[in-house]
């Protein structure tokens, strides 16, 4: 039962991380690649960490009453918070730096930042 839940979480996480890497290969320019890399890796990693937390909670309550399981769970959950807080900021900085050094978005139908940065 619990193995299935953990397996589903891990499968979702790994599939989305794989999708991010395929996106890096398939998309034409830096901005669309940042799209794929940021969103999919954040989401995939959340699910992988969720699998860890599920496993830690299950082990504490049903296998062995060892507080180190709770420690593992809490520390993994903190990883999610820091990842969600920092990943979009990194993507924003990369995108802005790319635009500032004059890389035009590939096939853009509109570019409002033309001559502004």
């Amino acid at each position: 039962m619990i193995e299935w839940l953990i397996g589903i979480f891990l499968a979702i996480g790994v599939i989305f991380n794989l999708l991010a890497s395929i996106g890096l290969l398939r998309f034409p320019d830096v901005y669309t690649r940042i799209h794929a890399a940021t969103k999919c890796t954040t989401f995939g990693t959340i699910f992988i960490v969720l699998a860890t937390v599920t496993y830690a909670i299950y082990s504490y309550f049903w296998v062995e009453k060892d507080p180190s399981w709770i420690t593992i769970g809490i520390h993994s959950a903190l990883v999610v918070i820091f990842l969600v807080l920092t990943n979009p900021v990194g993507a924003h900085a990369l995108g802005r730096a790319a635009r500032k050094s004059g890389i035009l978005p590939y096939g853009a139908v509109i570019d409002e930042l033309e001559g502004r940065l």
Binding site: I22, F27, P28, I34, H35, K39, C40, P67, P88, G107
Partner: protein, 166 residues
Amino acid sequence: MSFIAVFIWSFVLWLVLTAGSKGLLWSPEELAAGLIFSGVIALTTKDIIGEKAARFLNPAKWVGFVIYAIGPLFWGMVKANLDVAYRVITGRIKPGIVRVPVDLENDAQYTILSNSITLTPGTLTIDACPEEKALYVHWINVTEKEPKSSEVIAGSFEKWARRLGR
């Protein structure tokens, strides 16, 4: 006031990181060490965190953040990832950088809104201009070249950001 804000934040982080040293709770020695370290951190960084950081110590705001993160933001991320999956597989894109006028007051609201926009369907914040009250957003599938508000891009996120960052 900002000293108290940093102190409480770093002490809460210390408590979360060290839970489980005595049964499930904290040992007294660890609590004392946490008080000392939080005090040192608060003394050294109280000028960085900003004047009005203490407004985020309001518990009602924490509840708001949790509801926002689990509800609209997580659902937005699910949609974003399915959207990216579709675009990776079919390769159907129509990118562009659009200017989105927003109506926000302080930097915290801009941070919340631009982070949410980056994590949700097909949009990536390139530049935020608080002076002209606008965000410049790289949109992977432009449907409207000059949006009047952030409704088409971000849905209800602007309302949430205005409420949470106040």
